[in-house]
Structure formats: C-alpha cells, structure tokens
C-alpha cells in the first residue's frame, strides 16, 4: 500500500472515528453536567431565537470595541473565511464530502481558492506573530494554542503546495496533505479547535441568559 492509499484509507478512517467519537464525547460530557435552573422572573421570553440571535450577532464587533480589536478581528476574519472557502468551496474537497454525504454544491475556481488559501496562511502567521509578541497573549497562551495553530496551518500549506509542487510528486504531497488533515481531525475535538462547535453552545447560552434579563447581548 503506498502512502496515498494509506492516507486516504485507514488513516482517514481512524481519524474519522476519533473525530466523531471525540466531538460527541466532549459535547455530551458538557451537556450532561448538572443544569442550571433559573427561577427568576424573565423580563423577556428567551428561547432558541435568543440563542440564534447571539450566535449571529457575536460574529460582529460591538462599536465600542471596534478600534481596539480591529487588527486581530480582521486577521481572524481572513483566516476563518479563507479556511471556510478552502475547505468547503474547493471542488476536490466538495468531491470528498460528496463521497460520503452523497450530494455536492457549487465551488469556486481553483485560482480563487489558492488566493484565499494564501490569504488565510498569511493571516494565520500574522496572528501567530501577535500571539508571540503581545504581552497579554504571551501570558494566556498554552500548548493548545500553538499546536492547534500548527495543525490548522499545516493542511493549508501542504494543500497549497500541491499546485506549486516545488519538485515534489503530486501523489506524495497529496498524501502528506491528507495526513495533515488526519492530524487535524484527530486533534480537533480535544483542543481549542473544538470552538468550531462550542461557539454555538457558548454564544447560545449567553444569548438565552442575557436576553432573558433583557440585558445587552
């Protein structure tokens, strides 16, 4: 079995098991802790809509904080939108998803994807530089932050190397790319990357708690 077949087969398979099991483990482990019951008289009824509202509104910065957080926010936007486009709008990736979802959706031209991918890498590097130089971030960062950065950027870089090639063989870089995704999937549920699904829980919770009080969300 060559490296690509190993990456696309058993490696990806095991990564998928770990990804699914780990994600569910984490969510269930949190959700099944004791629930906080609130008997206070609500000012407003706040259910799912409040949760959805905040899930949406927290994607944008409230005006008082705009100036102070402009730089990291812009970088984070570029990083995240780039990642989104690269993962979900690159045609070969869509084909990958179609392989097990059974349906596909329109993608973007590869040239645009490469551009977005590069932008995402550049933004990620800028964010890392910020993390390594800002006194606040230096203090609060831990292994998870750096390792998660690494496993996120690695597939981007290896993916972008496929069209560039640099003397390497297509199937070898592709195999390394798939293996980097395997690493990402394995780490995903356990570290801070879990925010990709926890963001709905945290924002939603805050939305319901504070909307209930009629307070600013």
């Amino acid at each position: 079995m060559d490296l690509l077949a190993f990456a696309k087969g058993p490696a990806l398979q095991v990564a998928a098991y770990i990804f699914v099991a780990g994600t569910i483990w984490r969510i269930v482990g949190i959700v099944l802790l004791k629930e906080k019951v609130d008997y206070s008289e609500p000012r407003k009824s706040a259910g799912l809509m409040a949760a959805l509202k905040v899930i949406y509104t927290r994607s944008f910065t409230a005006s008082p904080f705009k100036r102070a957080t402009l730089y990291p926010k812009m970088l984070a936007y570029v990083q995240h939108l780039g990642l989104f486009a690269v993962i979900f709008l690159f045609v070969p990736h869509i084909m990958f998803f179609k392989g097990f979802l059974g349906f596909d959706w329109p993608g973007l031209p590869n040239n645009i994807i490469y551009l977005l991918g590069v932008a995402s890498v550049v933004a990620s590097i800028a964010l890392l530089v910020r993390r390594l130089t800002s006194p606040v971030l230096k203090l609060i960062s831990n292994f998870d932050d750096y390792f998660s950065w690494f496993v996120t950027v690695l597939p981007l870089v290896t993916g972008l190397m496929i069209p560039v090639r640099m003397g390497l063989r297509y199937e070898d870089i592709l195999a390394v790319h798939v293996l980097s995704v395997v690493l990402l999937m394995i780490w995903f549920p356990f570290g801070k990357l879990g925010h990709a699904f926890l963001v709905f829980v945290t924002r939603g919770t805050t939305g319901m708690v504070f909307e209930r009080r009629g307070a600013k969300t």
Binding site: A16, V28, L32, M95, P109
Partner: protein
C-alpha cells in the same frame, strides 16, 4: 560470437538516403523526448550502434501490450527500429513453436550472454506454478532462467511492472511483478494498460542508441515519459484552475471539453506521456476523447478506487462503524459527565 552489423550499416543496406537518415534521427529524438539540439549526437550514436538481441517473454497477460506495439510495426520509422533489433524469441509473433522456439531462446541466450535484453509482459503467478506455463516450464522458472544472462529487463505493461489486473485484489493466482522477482538486474518498467507504443519503442531505442538504460523514477519508469503527470500536460488543465468541470458525460461541460476531475479523472496522480505522445499515431488520448484518465500506468490502479470516483474521495468503511464511533463518544461523554457529577456530589458532602 559473431559481430552484429551497426544500425548505420543496416540502413545503408536498405538504401536509405542521408536525408532519410536525418529524418529518422529527428523522429528518434522526438520519440526519446530529447530536444532537437540532440539530433547530431543521436545521428552519431545510431550510426555506430550494434543490433542487440531481444527475448520477449509473455506470462499472465492479454496480449494487449503486443497488440499495442504491433500497431506501429510495419515499415514505419518505429518499424525500422525493430528492424534494427533482433527479436529472437516472442512466442506470439515468432513462426517457430514448441521445442524449436525454446531452442531459439536458448541459442540467443548463449550467443549474447550478458548483453541481451529481456522484455516481459504479464505478471508471474506464485500461487501455483501450474497457473501459467510455457512449454511445460512455469513462468517463474522461465523468467529466472532467461534473466540470468540478461543485460537488463524491461517490464512491458502494468501487469509485468506492478502485477496489474491478475495482481488485483483478491489476487487469486498470487501474481507478482517482474520487479518482485528480479532484484539483481536492472529492471525498467514501462507500465500502461497498454503502454503507449511509442514509449515502448523509445525505451528500446534508447538502449539501442546510447547503449545505456534511461533515468528512472521511484517506480522504475523512464523519467522521460513518466516524469510528468497527465494533469500537468493536459490541455484541459486551465479548466481545472477555472473551476469549469463536466458533471456528467453528456452535459454542457462535457461537450465544451471541460475538466473531467469530477468524473473521476486520475490525471493528477498518473505519470504517463498520453497528453503529448497521444495514441493512434498522435490522433487523440482518452481525455481528449472525453473520458477521464483511469491511471493505468500507476501501481495498483485497479484497486485504487472506482474509475468514476473523484480522486479526492476518501475511502471509508460503512457508516455503521462511524455510528459505532459515535456510540463510543456518547458512552465516554456520559462517563465523563458522571465522573464530574459524582466528584461534585462528593465535594458537596465534604463541604
């Protein structure tokens, strides 16, 4: 050992003019994928090259490779090359049969000991020697015997190079490739199902012209022909970058000649010269004809996923196992939460 005539002498004897010879050299350079600037060197080399002896062994194969080669046999330029080699044994093409044929093989081996080329098509069964025999000799024995005194071995076609269809899962005959058995001689793989005729002749021409083996890639294939992917040399490549794909075989995109990636094209991971050398005397090649590349010149292409399955498709087991993983996730989550809660209960009691 009698002295074989040089190629120059053979051509002269056939009454080929110098202009004809120059034309022949230009075509040879083209076949060898060498730049036209190399033509004078080729001319010099060919004039002085001596006619080598070739023994062709056919094992578990479909004769497709021989068919492919003979497509371009008769008095063509490539044909001339075959005039220039001495094909001393080929049980499909030769007139002799039985003991006579075997005697010819042994004679050629003795006469050219250490200098002849062995060409093999088909894979070799190790499961049971009786699965494939020639003149009562098992394939593996014949290969070992013949290769012993050879200068080099050329594995023609994907079966000889990588095991091919006989070697595909579940490999009932225990088929292996030439490479698997011959480890003490140079082995050149010329895979493809079948290989491009010009590529086969080119490898022989290279040996004939320069008396040396070509530079090989990690799968033992001559880099001159297997150095670039179909994808990299494909005229439809710009459509790939622009995101223009044929979705089905009869949609607008297919008619407009867009990229066949979504229809399972293995071009990106397939190393071969189809996109430039083309087939049927340079008429076309599968992608130009509207069909995705199957990746036939790659190891294990038969087991490498469906022909119409896009390259990026992951190879997953059934969803049941994934559901199992989800179940384990639920169990671990419940256990973790229960452990957390019991710790809280304990701490509450302890105060």
């Amino acid at each position: 050992m009698k002295k074989r005539p040089t190629v120059g002498e053979i051509l002269q004897a056939k009454g080929v003019s110098r202009r004809g010879f120059l034309k022949y050299c230009a075509t040879t350079a083209s076949i060898l994928a060498l730049p036209p600037a190399m033509i004078p060197r080729i001319a010099e080399a060919i004039e002085n090259a001596r006619r080598p002896s070739v023994i062709w062994l056919s094992f578990q194969e479909c004769t497709g490779c021989t068919e492919s080669l003979t497509r371009s046999a008769s008095p063509t330029v490539e044909g001339l090359i075959f005039d220039a080699i001495s094909l001393d044994y080929h049980h499909t093409l030769q007139a002799a049969a039985g003991d006579q044929a075997e005697a010819a093989r042994h004679a050629a081996m003795e006469e050219n000991d250490g200098q002849y080329l062995v060409l093999v098509d088909g894979s070799i069964p190790l499961g049971n020697p009786g699965f494939s025999t020639i003149a009562g000799i098992s394939n593996v024995d014949m290969l070992k015997e013949t290769v012993a005194g050879a200068a080099a071995v050329v594995a023609i076609g994907s079966c000889a190079a990588f095991g091919g269809i006989p070697g595909a899962d579940p490999n009932p005959t225990g088929a292996v490739s030439v490479m698997d058995l011959v480890t003490d001689k140079p082995v050149i793989n010329v895979p493809g199902c079948p290989p491009i005729p010009m590529v086969m002749t080119a490898v022989l021409t290279q040996f004939l012209t320069f008396g040396q083996l070509p530079e090989l890639d990690k799968h033992g294939r001559p880099l001159a022909f297997y150095g670039q992917t179909i994808h990299d040399r494909c005229y439809r490549r710009p459509f790939y970058e622009q995101g223009k794909f044929a979705e089905t075989f009869d949609d607008e995109g297919a008619r407009a000649g867009w990229c066949l990636y979504k229809l399972g094209c293995k071009g990106p991971t397939t190393y071969n010269a189809c996109a430039t050398a083309k087939w049927n005397s340079g008429t076309s090649f599968p992608i130009e004809a509207g069909h995705p590349c199957l990746g036939c010149s790659e190891p294990n292409f038969w087991d490498g996923g469906g022909f119409y399955e896009p390259l990026s498709t992951g190879r997953f087991d059934s969803g049941a196992k994934l559901a199992g993983a989800a179940g384990i996730g639920v169990a671990l989550g419940v256990a973790a939460a229960a452990a957390g809660r019991s710790k809280q209960a304990k701490f509450t009691k302890e105060g």
